[in-house]
């Protein structure tokens, strides 16, 4: 793996300092990093999983709507951002690895470096009480 571009390194550094759960993915959707607050929501530890291929992490959580119907991948904010390179947001339920059903809101935005290099995306999550 070649070293990461500066923008993703700084993105990860930034996320590492936040108390907001956050995800960092490359242009293919591979999960490069998630921070400690995200570990709490998802019941995973980055130190144990490391980065994950998109096929791997997309199957771990089953995002659902309020009625419990699984969401189509193209309706997920992060997937929208990855395909359109524009910010997206939405709300959903996920089942975390501890078996709990967690309501979350997600805001995703693309990472576009200088001068116009599309490098990946970041998603921030809020545990929401109601959707």
């Amino acid at each position: 793996m070649p070293a990461q571009p500066l923008e993703l390194i700084l993105g990860r550094q930034f996320m590492d300092t936040l108390s907001i759960p956050a995800f960092l993915v490359d242009t293919q959707g591979n999960l490069l990093f998630y921070n400690e607050p995200a570990e709490e929501i998802f019941g995973l530890r980055f130190g144990e999983t490391g980065g994950m291929k998109v096929e791997e992490w997309a199957t771990i959580f089953t995002p659902m709507d309020a009625k419990g119907n699984p969401l189509r991948p193209e309706d997920l904010p992060l997937v929208k951002t990855l395909t359109t390179q524009v910010p997206a947001n939405g709300s959903m339920f996920i089942n975390n690895l501890n078996g709990e059903r967690v309501p979350i809101s997600v805001s995703a935005f693309p990472i576009i470096g200088r001068p116009d290099r599309y490098l990946g995306a970041m998603a921030m999550f809020w545990k929401s009480e109601i959707i």
Partner: protein
């Protein structure tokens, strides 16, 4: 190829009797193979370089890491720019909006400087770079953005089997995850890895760095760790603080090496040094 140091001081030219050994001119390195002439940064050192260059050099490539004033202040005093038979190429980092040309023009304009770019006998040829790979003569050059305020490039210059890496302004600790243990997540690693000589920012002692986090520079202690991580053959520590005297620079290096051993050569860069490969 040869690399000759015309300036390795950081931030501000610092002439004076207390700075005789390491020199007072700001960043400028001549890199040449006898046919192709490259200059890394146009700090105050480029003024002397311009005066001592042979008249046979007709094409000059100036590679700017970034446009902070200590890396550009010598441009207007570089004699070949005023010579009608000399072609000068200026290479530098792309920004998000403002073009490289318009950013260089700011230097060549009132109230900073009396001569405008358009007044020169030949308008320099401007080349903008980002994450780039290109060739000039027999030199293979690779650039990438590195961690420093404003768009800033590191240069990796290969000639035959030999590699020079140049990152005079680079804050390692801010641009790295779990420093110094994670090369893929360390700014500048691809530029530096396995270089024959790495010219790298080591502006501060660690105590000085702690007061200047976010200013874009590194402590000698971190620079040593980065050189080790990058498995370079030689580290030449660059961008000395203008307030640090010869004596203080020797002392900073001595303290950083105390009780440690490294399997590569280490020195504080000195104006006038010549590296030959």
């Amino acid at each position: 190829m040869i690399a000759k140091i015309w300036g390795c001081r950081g931030s501000l030219p610092s002439p004076g009797p207390e700075n005789i050994v390491y020199g007072g001119n700001t960043s400028c390195i001549e890199v040449s193979d006898g046919e192709t002439f490259l200059i890394l940064d146009a700090g105050s050192g480029i003024q002397r370089l311009g005066r001592f260059m042979g008249p046979e050099v007709k094409v000059i490539h100036i590679l700017l890491t970034h446009l902070h004033i200590d890396h550009t202040m010598g441009l207007g005093f570089f004699k070949p720019l005023y010579h009608p038979d000399v072609e000068v190429h200026l290479w530098g980092p792309s920004a998000s909006n403002d073009s490289l040309l318009s950013r260089i023009r700011k230097y060549f304009s009132a109230p900073l400087f009396p001569v405008r770019l358009g007044d020169l006998p030949n308008h320099p040829v401007i080349h903008k770079l980002d994450e780039s790979e290109f060739e000039i003569g027999d030199f293979k050059i690779k650039t990438d953005y590195i961690c420093h305020p404003g768009p800033t490039l590191g240069y990796r210059i290969q000639h035959g089997d030999h590699v020079i890496a140049y990152m005079p302004d680079h804050e390692l600790r801010l641009g790295s995850t779990d420093f110094p243990n994670n090369p893929d997540w360390t700014s500048g690693f691809e530029i530096a890895k396995n270089a024959d000589v790495l010219f790298h920012d080591g502006a501060y002692s660690f105590a000085e760095y702690e007061k200047k986090v976010g200013w874009g520079h590194s402590a000698v202690r971190d620079t040593l760790q980065f050189a080790k991580l990058s498995q370079v053959k030689k580290l030449s520590i660059f961008h000395h603080e203008p307030t640090n005297t010869d004596e203080q620079l020797d002392e900073i290096l001595r303290r950083n090496l105390e009780g440690k051993s490294f399997d590569f050569e280490i020195e504080m860069c000195k104006e006038g040094l010549v590296y030959e490969f």
